[in-house]
Symmetry: C2
Subunit: 475 residues, 2 copies
């Protein structure tokens, strides 16, 4: 959210402003932390009000994350009404809960009343039902109804993220009437960049950007300058889908409507930016085999969330090991094979994960679809063959010289070529297939791709050696 | 960019609008592609103008990406002045170049004149100097100067991404004067959400949001309602840094100033969203061992960009293999070890990459800093020990039963515990260390972490076995 006018007016003049609270590396400066710590210990309200309460909400959020748990509670208690609850939308969920649970509901209710509705919902939605009800009960009627309505929409929906404050006028008003209304009305949203046009039943008719109003003569009717809102967002739409609409049509804000097409709120791009970022982050975390963990999670929470992925990997590793065990007789005879086999499997794994990363990202950004899939598959297969030849020759020379055996050099070169080709094909086809089947390719591709490259790698290398040296299979 | 008023007015009424051009999976519908293809072949200008030229720029961009290379050129030629060049900002760089290089410079110059300056720069910056000069020479003076100024700023700087059109007024104007100016002036930007306040030398004094102007009485002076712009962006600032300012302070738009503090342009959040997305994407690609490749790259381009990473991995794989070769005598005696050793190394690799993914992301989002680093390191070490015990016991039982040997079960359990602990410690410390040293942890962490887990895995497992079974080291 942008700063409120009050915040801006209350800002100290530039010469009084402390220097940046951040050190060069982006962390909060240690000397500032020490000052804050001392002020909390000394209950130095003057310092806290002047130097802490006036920080920008995101700076205050970073400060809260940097201090100790007990200091956080003390700071919020000491600041009381001077503490801007918006800062809690900028911190880790665990820290937010820790603070909110330690505050009396009456203080939260008082502070919630000051927030934009989307920030208020952001804080309220994590609380349990009883606390939510108690806090809502202490709010004025209209505000309670607004927040309740937003909270009634499903989690992660556009209705949860929207701001319920907006300016709406009837189509027959003139530009002059509209401007006069805005000059006189006290209860306007903190900031807004467009006004909406509605019929008497609140059905959305259109929107007018503020610059359009400012360039139009007073006597012109609103309906003459309004544009159709081609992309109203249904309140029940998932926030990710809403974010895609914003990206696709470069929207800055969009009307949110209920099932009846009635205007219920407005979604702005600053809320959507967070969603876009979370999305990209999710893909990264999933490819790395981690779920929705947070830095503040405990050891057991973290361990539990990572076990499933490791467990699946254990199963596939055992599968790969059983492939090796088919060739125990061969390994017993030529131990060099045991030394070299992880190279073949490992290089395949790396090549496969390169292809897979590109594919998963292209699918997520919708750059890869049926129109170019075949071309990209051919390209990846070509890259696999080419790199397979390059690294096959390289490792063939190294292995041949190392073990002074041209046969081993030839065998590992061939196995490397086969495995890197398999890696490329698996790296592109597996994510595409998972995507077609409706699964998230970021979550599940990696384990399938490594399984393919491990098994192909061991099988090709040990199998070729067994065949070449004419050794019986089975221990 | 948002639609211009003209575009909106020229939009066909809803009932004439074709259905969405997208199929359920987000790709452009095949039947629509066929219609477009036929219209291009038949030179059916009516269809192309009505159904293609009126598409939203991002839809047009998707369409261009979906059709054949020769169809693209033909389409742009056929549409001529009706082709909205903004669509080219929505396509892959290779496709943009392909189209622009096939258009006469005169047509580009005519079309560039219609674009917002930031879109124009986006298209011009990829062209070579001679073409740039030729196109700029055909533009009116003020526009040429503006674009030239933006192009003179370094690549990827805020100056390149900014829009050079803005509204600026002196501080002593009243709200009424300002509104009258906007009503009368023809040459205003397409859309804007704030006006800037400058002194006679163009030095930036402040800004006023449009909603603030609309709620203020006509006789009030601009200087009374302007707010200080606390975060003007220097034009030479890197776009990533500018994006961080936007994220940190939830800005929607920001003034861009030159070295003298003079206003030269405005940077808006829709440009910044693209930068934020590119950033997150870069981390993902780097962790996956791929560089800045594009889906339209050729086989050799792709292969060449992936070889360096694979080469480094080959070296570390050879290093790990040489650890195995220390224990050839042991493997010769107990082949089961060769079967099982990839499990120990592989599980370590997976656990390490989990920790590394979380760490790299936390560093990128500045959530991990000196204030919580020690706590997170302890947590990861704890997770490594805990998961090491879980999976040590599990694989110990499996291996013991498989090879009917309690010794092997005990050895692999211990090696697994050691390696998963090492993986956790390497997974957190290596990215932090690289970050401190000024290297990008996303690029280089993976190879170091796998090296640690491979070497530790093989050494711990084979070493323990050698010691336990009292076998001599060295082949």
């Amino acid at each position: 959210m942008t700063e409120t006018e009050d915040e801006i007016r209350n800002r100290p003049p530039i010469e009084e402003m402390p220097e940046s609270i951040y050190a060069e590396d982006g962390s909060v400066r240690s000397d500032f932390l020490m000052l804050v710590g001392a002020a909390i210990a000394d209950r130095d309200l003057l310092f806290l009000r002047q130097r802490v309460a006036r920080l920008h909400e995101s700076e205050l959020g970073d400060l809260i994350e940097a201090i100790q748990a007990d200091q956080r509670i003390a700071l919020v208690r000491l600041l009381g009404d001077d503490f801007d609850l918006t800062a809690l939308t900028e911190v880790d969920e665990a820290i937010r809960l820790q603070i909110v649970e330690n505050l009396p509901n009456a203080q939260i209710a008082a502070a919630i009343g000051e927030l934009d509705s989307d920030d208020a919902v952001y804080i309220l939605e994590d609380l349990d039902q009883a606390d939510q009800d108690e806090i809502l009960a202490q709010l004025p009627f209209t505000e309670r109804v607004r927040l309740r309505r937003a909270l009634d929409y499903p989690e992660s929906s556009a209705g949860r993220r929207m701001q319920t404050e907006f300016v709406a006028v009837p189509p027959f008003w003139t530009v002059g009437q509209t401007i006069d209304y805005m000059r006189d009305e006290e209860d306007l949203p903190e900031s807004f960049s467009q006004i909406f046009v509605i019929d008497p039943t609140f059905r959305l008719l259109g929107a007018v950007d503020l610059d359009r109003i400012l360039r139009t003569k007073r006597q012109v009717k609103i309906e003459a300058i309004m544009r159709e809102t081609n992309h109203p967002i249904p309140a029940v739409m998932d926030q990710e889908e809403a974010a895609q609409e914003f990206e696709q049509y470069d929207l800055l804000s969009a009307a949110v409507v209920d099932e009846g097409g009635r205007l219920v709120g407005v979604l702005t791009i600053d809320d959507v930016v967070d969603v876009i970022q979370e999305e990209a982050e999710e893909d990264l975390m999933r490819l790395g085999g981690v779920g929705d963990e947070e830095l503040s999670d405990t050891v057991t929470e973290t361990s539990r969330s990572r076990v499933p992925w490791l467990f699946v990997n254990l199963l596939t590793a055992i599968l790969a090991a059983s492939v090796i065990s088919l060739f125990e007789a061969t390994i017993e005879e030529i131990v060099a094979l045991a030394v070299l086999m992880p190279i073949v499997a490992g290089m395949g794994g790396n090549a496969g994960s390169q292809t897979m990363t590109v594919t998963v990202r292209a699918l997520a950004t919708r750059n890869l679809d049926i129109h170019n899939a075949w071309r990209v598959v051919r390209r990846e297969a070509g890259v696999g063959l080419l790199n397979g030849m390059v690294f096959g020759i390289l490792i063939g020379l190294v292995a041949g010289l190392w073990f002074q055996d041209v046969n081993i050099g030839g065998i590992i070169a061939t196995a490397m070529l086969i495995n890197m080709f398999a890696a490329a094909v698996a790296g592109i086809l597996i994510p595409i297939l998972l995507d077609r089947l409706g699964a998230d390719p970021a979550v599940s591709s990696a384990v399938f791709v490594t399984t393919v490259t491990d098994i192909t790698g061991f099988f090709a290398f040990l199998g070729l050696a067994t065949w070449w040296f004419r050794i019986g299979v089975g221990s």
